[in-house]
């Protein structure tokens, strides 16, 4: 199935600066695998060492959170959109700004 994977701004630097990547996959997990195979630098941003999705990265199939579907095993259809939505906090790096604690 031809699926579009949407890349959020913070991760575009690791995906050739593209805002989306077209992949072929049968499940959401395969779509993500294909994505990190094409763009190896993305892997550590999306997955923990044990291969599980990081808890501050949510993945949506169209507008549904895959945690409430079949997670990575959720099947995809032609034309579906998989969105990666990481938590963002503000204008500057979290750790750096947190210590200054200024407001955005």
């Amino acid at each position: 199935m031809a699926v579009k994977v949407m890349i959020p701004t913070p991760l575009r630097a690791y995906a050739g600066k593209q805002d989306h990547v077209d992949v072929t996959a049968r499940t959401v997990g395969e779509a993500l695998d294909s994505l990190v195979t094409q763009h190896g630098d993305l892997r550590r941003h999306l997955f923990q060492d044990d291969g599980r999705l990081r808890s501050f990265v949510n993945v949506y199939l169209n507008d549904d959170d895959i945690r409430y579907l079949k997670k990575e095993a959720t099947p995809v259809k032609d034309g579906d959109t998989v969105s990666i939505v990481p938590s963002i906090a503000g204008g500057s790096p979290a750790a750096h700004r947190a210590t200054r604690g200024t407001a955005e």
Binding site: P8, T9, P10, L11, A13, D19, D41, R44, H45, R54, S55, F56, N58, Y60, D63, D64, D65, R67, Y68, S83, V85, P86, S87, I88, A89, G90, G91, S92, P93, A94, A95, H96, R97, A98, T99, R100, G101, T102, A103, E104
Partner: protein, 392 residues
């Protein structure tokens, strides 16, 4: 949910003065607001956490709309780099406390409302107390510890949390904490570990972006007060300013949520710095590498020592200022390492010294022996050696 946000308890019937009727006339002639809605706004109590980029449109629009009781929480002072987006402040406010400058601006905009300022950092010790007198909390902060603190404190105190966050060209907004609705931890159970997602090199924000996202938060706060329309409860709005696209995804209440789920494990506020992996005064320590101070570097260059300056910032940063170094952005270093001569002495630098510390650690592992990190980066060079080098 609107019942929760609106001042439902039987308060003495408020009225509008003749001046207020004139001021709010463009609201009053709309049936969705009208006299009834304007009085709801007048009785409303909204606490803004942060008076920065998101807080600027929030404060201006909430005050202009006639939200009767506004609280502002911020401990910070206005600095020059704020003015690119924090439009509440003027150049003459630089150095002033943000809450004071904001109070002056908002009071001038609307003298008829009550503005309370809290010149303090929001902490686990004061959050619940600060939230007590308000119905709606608007999160205009920029860091994970405060966002989790705002979330947990709103859940524990049963308040609504109007959420907005931004990064470069991208924004997110939603409403958490409505009855039966999800909270921030339902969406993101845990924050990213420090240093993993955005690095210094990728920071920054286009000044208009917080203006747009903060305006969305202001609109949601006002709708919650009025009980009008469909709010963002249960929907996460994603805004990409470069593509100028709005999308939304569904948010669900997570039954296993540690703070609002059925078997909650968080029943009081915790240490959010620790929770976010940030301990003590400083962020997680960076790798320890050999350093050279700007003054030492200057002395050695003046002596004519053969030093190779390696600049690991991004090309757009090099355009702002540079030390005539050889530019290899940190992310490109692994595949461009062959451009470096390990027999020469190398001094690596970035803006503040953090990225170049990573570069030095990487190059040492790759076998480079004569390599130092410029302590404090080009910022320290500007402070200690050459004030003509602009800081950014």
């Amino acid at each position: 949910m609107s019942a929760k946000s609106a001042p439902a308890e039987a308060a003495p019937a408020a009225t509008l003065s003749k001046d207020e009727i004139l001021r709010y006339s463009r609201h009053l002639i709309m049936p969705e607001v009208g006299m009834e809605g304007q009085l709801k706004l007048k009785k409303a109590r909204v606490l803004m956490i942060g008076t920065g980029g998101l807080g600027a449109p929030l404060g201006l629009y909430l005050a202009a709309a006639g939200v009767g009781h506004l609280g502002l929480v911020d401990f910070d002072k206005v600095d020059f780099t704020n003015l690119q987006r924090q439009v509440t402040f003027g150049t003459s406010d630089v150095g002033r406390h943000k809450v004071e400058a904001a109070r002056e601006r908002l009071s001038n905009l609307n003298p008829a409302i009550e503005i309370k300022v809290f010149e303090t950092m929001l902490t686990s010790a004061n959050a619940l107390e600060l939230f007590r007198d308000y119905d709606i909390i608007v999160d205009g902060t920029d860091n994970f510890p405060t966002r989790y603190l705002v979330n947990d404190a709103t859940v524990l105190s049963g308040k609504i949390n109007v959420y907005g966050s931004i990064f470069r060209f991208e924004g997110q907004a939603t409403v958490f904490g409505a009855a039966g609705g999800p909270c921030y931890r339902c969406l993101y159970p845990e924050p990213p570990p420090p240093g993993l997602v955005p690095s210094c090199a990728e920071g920054g924000v286009l000044g208009v972006l917080p203006g747009i996202v903060g305006s969305i938060q202001a609109m949601e706060a006002i709708k919650l007060i009025l009980g009008a329309g469909d709010t963002l409860v249960g929907r996460l709005l994603l805004f990409d300013a470069l593509q100028m696209k709005f999308r939304e995804v569904k948010l669900r209440k997570n039954p296993d949520c540690p703070v609002c789920g059925e078997k909650r494990t968080i029943t009081q506020l915790i240490d959010y710095q620790e929770f976010c992996g940030i301990r003590g005064e400083e962020a997680a320590p960076t790798v320890s590498v050999p350093e050279i101070t700007p003054k030492e570097l200057k002395a050695r260059l003046d002596r004519g020592d053969d030093l190779f300056i390696l600049d690991v910032r991004e090309p757009h940063e090099y355009q702002i200022c540079h030390l005539d170094g050889h530019l290899i952005p940190l992310g490109d270093l692994p595949r461009r390492v062959n451009e470096l001569d390990s027999s020469r002495e190398i001094v690596a630098h970035c803006r503040s010294g953090k990225r170049s510390a990573d570069a030095v650690a990487f190059l040492k592992q790759a076998g480079f022996k004569k390599i130092w990190n410029l302590k404090g980066g080009i910022l320290a060079w500007s402070d200690e050696v050459d004030p003509k080098v602009p800081k950014y």
